[in-house]
Symmetry: C2
Subunit: 395 residues, 2 copies
């Protein structure tokens, strides 16, 4: 190897060590070495450099793993070493927060607005205002601002072009370039379900899973796919559109304009649309029923109301058939069902399981575990923070 | 980097150079360097070693790419440097051939037998006999025999356990270990559609495609998936079971035992089953209609016979809806439709395209190209040869 190649390899090792500490830290050097498969000498040399550069720091550890009682020195990332700005766009809402080098998130600023009315310029204007305010709030002891990440409800092409979003009327708009130019920083945009999948996988107990599907239930039905240990992304920015696979040809109309998609049975708007035609429910914003409205519907089903019960049964059946196609095509080790719509999971599950049994032979079915995953809204922002930090080589 | 890590990296570079030559060779050193992104000095040093080891050789090239007319020296793999035995199992048929280091294939030995009757021991016995005969035929000037590859019609777990095959009655049988023990060689088993996908992608013009789906039509309907540039495999050995995604809930019975699968509309047996109930066709082996029977059905449709036409239209519609789910979930850049069943592609295509338009919004649809790929049976054997050679580090 020549000098250039050796340095390239050295940089990769620095990066792997930083990633391992972000995921598993704080860690003793010996455990760090076994995670990244580097010799003690290499770990020692690289962590020495990283401590000198201020990117990591030593902290007193607990007892040694071998039980000899001698306290170990652990190392962890220095949160203030660098920071980034995370932006989340969803229907009628923009959120912005500061992410630190260890993946922590500061207070979230929220702006409510009518996103469907926005021009491309106005959208960028809102982003820029809020990013400005976030940058002004960075504590004085923080290191360099390394990038901006945009988590977008919708299709994003090549981390920069918003192809389509249910929150916006504009289409095919480059949302990264104008911000990159204004702030002189790298900017990456990503689909929100992909952010959530990254965020969920970024837990020590799920890291070893090679093929993971995270299905997001809510107003729409989305998915993030980790395949072969990496986030799957179609070159087009599309892909992972689980909600628009079919349950029933010529079935009910979907938000996408086609018929019979899983989303047209399982999405909040679909459940509420059907419920309203049968039950005496408040006639509010049917496109985006509120959390209270949806929770009321779940409660009705839980109390045994036949119409509400039957709606969640049908949704469960559609979900089950949709998952059967996902399992047949990709065979994930684990499917996690999350998003705000997971509130109705218990009502859907029995029919979902029945549909899966009906659809697939055991050989295909038994290898994939399916379970709900508790939903918290900050999974999206955490995912985009991790993605931007992944680009910080620290070298 | 310590010595061990440096050697590891060196070995990886040797491997990348061998792979590039297998795919693109013969190549000038300068072109090889740009393909593998190594400096001229590194390429020179590694190719020097590989020539000394007899794995590659220099051949006189044509004119220089710059048109100056000075002939360039090209390098290519030495076919005799090493070899491997390729075995292919399909319904009532075992084939065995010798693969050389450059990926070339020798004469194919074929044994016809009733595979469904075989015990696990008898199956291994047939494999071993035929591998023995193949090994005896290796020319004297060939280098070491480096491995055995098994391309199996069916699900294979962890490259060794046959989970299920339509050709066999045995289930969950380790088919690699007894051969590895007997021949003292590494043995890997793989699904045949995966072999075909590898084989097709192993062409210079398709190598850059990140996400490729190869759909195999024939008696059954299978698929091989290249995702993020790598063969996708579910940890279970299942996955890529495109044929068992659903077109019609409670639809016709499928070979798998469930109802309404794509295969139960598009598979040869499904087309022939329906045709025979309507047309006066020879009543032969309906489970596995012959190529002649199937070609006769295609000819009928081509000549405008209404029943045959309608069968292929319905098959096209089921195929289109199946592909729409594949596109929504994964968004491949390219879908190639191949296998012996591609003979009916022209008859299916108009309805397939109509179904795709009906199923998906343009944003999702327009990014994936779909086209037929000419079918030759040796794609399977070539794929398993390439996979075994990929494990030969040449170091």
């Amino acid at each position: 190897m020549d000098r250039f190649e050796q340095e390239h390899s050295q940089n990769q090792n620095r990066h792997r060590i930083l990633q391992a500490l972000r995921l598993h830290g704080p860690l003793a050097r010996v455990d760090l070495g076994s995670i990244v498969s580097l010799s003690p000498a290499s770990v020692s040399s690289i962590t020495g450099d990283l401590i000198r550069d201020g990117l990591i720091r030593e902290v007193p550890g607990g007892e040694s793993g071998r039980g000899r009682g001698r306290p170990k020195v652990l190392i962890e990332l220095t949160p203030q070493a660098a920071c980034m700005v995370a932006v989340k766009l969803s229907i009628n809402r923009i959120e912005v927060a500061l992410g630190d080098f260890a993946g922590g998130i500061g207070p979230v600023a929220v702006r409510a607005l009518n996103t469907l009315e926005l021009t491309g310029e106005a959208l960028i204007g809102h982003f820029a205002d809020m990013i400005d305010a976030c940058i002004k709030s960075i504590p004085a002891d923080f290191g360099p601002l390394t990038g901006i990440g945009l988590a977008i409800q919708g299709l994003v092409h090549k981390n920069e072009t918003l192809v389509w979003s249910p929150a916006l009327s504009i289409r095919n708009h480059n949302i990264a370039a104008p911000l990159a130019e204004r702030f002189r920083l790298p900017v990456i945009a990503m689909n929100d379900a992909d952010c959530i999948a990254l965020s969920i996988r970024h837990r020590a107990e799920l890291e070893a899973i090679e093929n993971l599907a995270v299905v997001m239930l809510g107003t729409g039905v989305g998915m993030g796919l980790i395949l072969g240990g990496r986030l799957h992304s179609a070159s087009s920015g599309a892909g992972a559109e689980f909600g628009h696979t079919k349950y029933q040809i010529d079935g009910p109309l979907c938000h996408c304009g086609r018929r019979g998609c899983i989303e047209s049975f399982v999405g909040d708007y679909a459940l509420y649309r059907d419920a309203r035609s049968m039950l005496d429910l408040p006639n509010t914003d049917a496109l985006h029923p509120s959390e209270e409205q949806m929770q009321a519907l779940v409660d009705l089903a839980q109390s045994g109301h036949p119409v509400a019960t039957s709606l969640f049964q049908q949704a469960g059946r559609a979900l089950g058939y949709g998952l059967s196609n996902l399992i047949a095509l990709i065979g994930p080790d684990l499917i996690l069902v999350t998003g705000s719509g997971v509130r109705g999971y218990e009502q859907m599950e029995p029919e979902m399981r029945r549909a899966l049994d009906e659809a697939l032979v055991d050989t295909l079915l038994t290898q994939t575990e399916i379970r709900p995953y508790p939903w918290t809204a900050d999974l999206t922002i955490r995912g985009i923070v991790l993605q931007v930090l992944d680009g910080v080589r620290g070298g």
